[in-house]
Symmetry: C2
């Protein structure tokens, strides 16, 4: 079954910590932990948290139970870590950083939304938004999950508010707009649009929905 996977003895074994050399290390705890997290995210994204099997996670990494339970106390702790570390990174990379870097935040926002279907790849259509999936599944079941996911949503919306406020300052948005409320609606409506497309499995449904959302945003330009 499991043909030789690891055991790639790196010749340079004197590197003290973390990835700095180019070759593979024999034992790199940080990298191992990272591999487990990535595999766990993948399983949760594709099967849900309750559907994730720890045996599948370690099979995907080529590690064993020993490694997994050395880095994480139990399945729940692994799930929490996926939210805090992996998913938080996705939001930061896909939303917050581009918005902060843009000179025209509102235009950038509508661009991200409009180009979602190609930017996020095929998985977005099939499996939807990782954060929303986990939220809908686990929020009612576990308070720990709910709080962490709530924190992430607040972080996301805070980034949107900053972008919208900046847009209002440079005249991209008409004054008097309740940016906090708009940000909340953007997140909610977008989650709904992605969820609908994920269910219908039709890309034009996603376009149909996001167009209404963009329309709503465009309308906020003028008085």
């Amino acid at each position: 079954m499991n043909a030789g996977q690891q055991h790639i003895r790196g010749q340079a074994a004197m590197a003290p910590l973390s990835a700095q050399g180019s070759t593979a290390r024999v034992r790199d705890p940080d990298a191992t932990r990272h591999r487990i997290l990535e595999a766990a995210f993948d399983q949760i994204y594709h099967h849900g948290y309750q559907g994730m099997r720890l045996d599948d996670v370690i099979a995907a990494t080529g590690l064993t139970k020993g490694a997994l339970y050395h880095h994480f106390a139990n399945k729940l702790a692994l799930g929490y870590a996926v939210v805090d570390e992996v998913i938080a990174g996705v939001i930061d990379q896909l939303w917050l950083q581009p918005l902060r870097a843009s000179a025209r935040p509102l235009a950038e926002l509508t661009r991200i939304i409009s180009e979602l279907h190609q930017a996020a790849g095929h998985d977005l259509m099939t499996y939807g938004c990782p954060l929303n999936n986990l939220a809908q599944e686990m929020s009612p079941l576990d308070e720990g999950f709910r709080r962490r996911i709530d924190q992430l949503y607040l972080h996301w919306r805070k980034g949107l508010v900053e972008a919208l406020d900046r847009a209002a300052r440079i005249g991209e948005l008409r004054p008097g707009v309740d940016t906090t409320r708009v940000a909340a609606f953007i997140v909610a409506a977008l989650s709904g649009c992605i969820g609908m497309a994920k269910n219908s499995q039709r890309k034009d449904e996603l376009l149909l929905c996001t167009r209404s959302l963009v329309e709503y945003l465009e309308q906020l330009r003028h008085a």
Copy 2:
């Protein structure tokens, strides 16, 4: 453990089929099937399909495995039946019937949305929309679920389109509105709003979001 639950011998045992007498029947297959479906819906709504335990379902009904597997081939068939029969009924009762019965469909639509938080009771805040929950969990995992849920969404949206068209005819809605697109957006945005409130567990978040949606609808009145 299980103190006497059923075995309530009905004195009138000559009634041929289904509930017509007021007293409880000894054996009523239709009623039994209905009880199982209700309990299964409850479990799915509170724990998800994967989280539903058949032992909990039969415990809630006071029946046994024999009864369950007499009426349903397996867990999957039970899940399908919940979608087709129970959830479909909820949509019909909460949305389609009130819209059809109203003389002012758009006003009725905004009313339903605005009063969602009190109409659907406490469970909507805690557990969200039953259909959306199941869609987000099961659509990527099982094609049978996806198709049935998709059918339900189309049915729902079709009812909304009819209401919106009627609203346009009586002047409640401005002409030229793409009712198909608006209906899709309503369903998507509303699912997102409910999902967000379910995660934050704050009623004012639901109000905040639905207000934006109602605002969007109100804007469709005037040219």
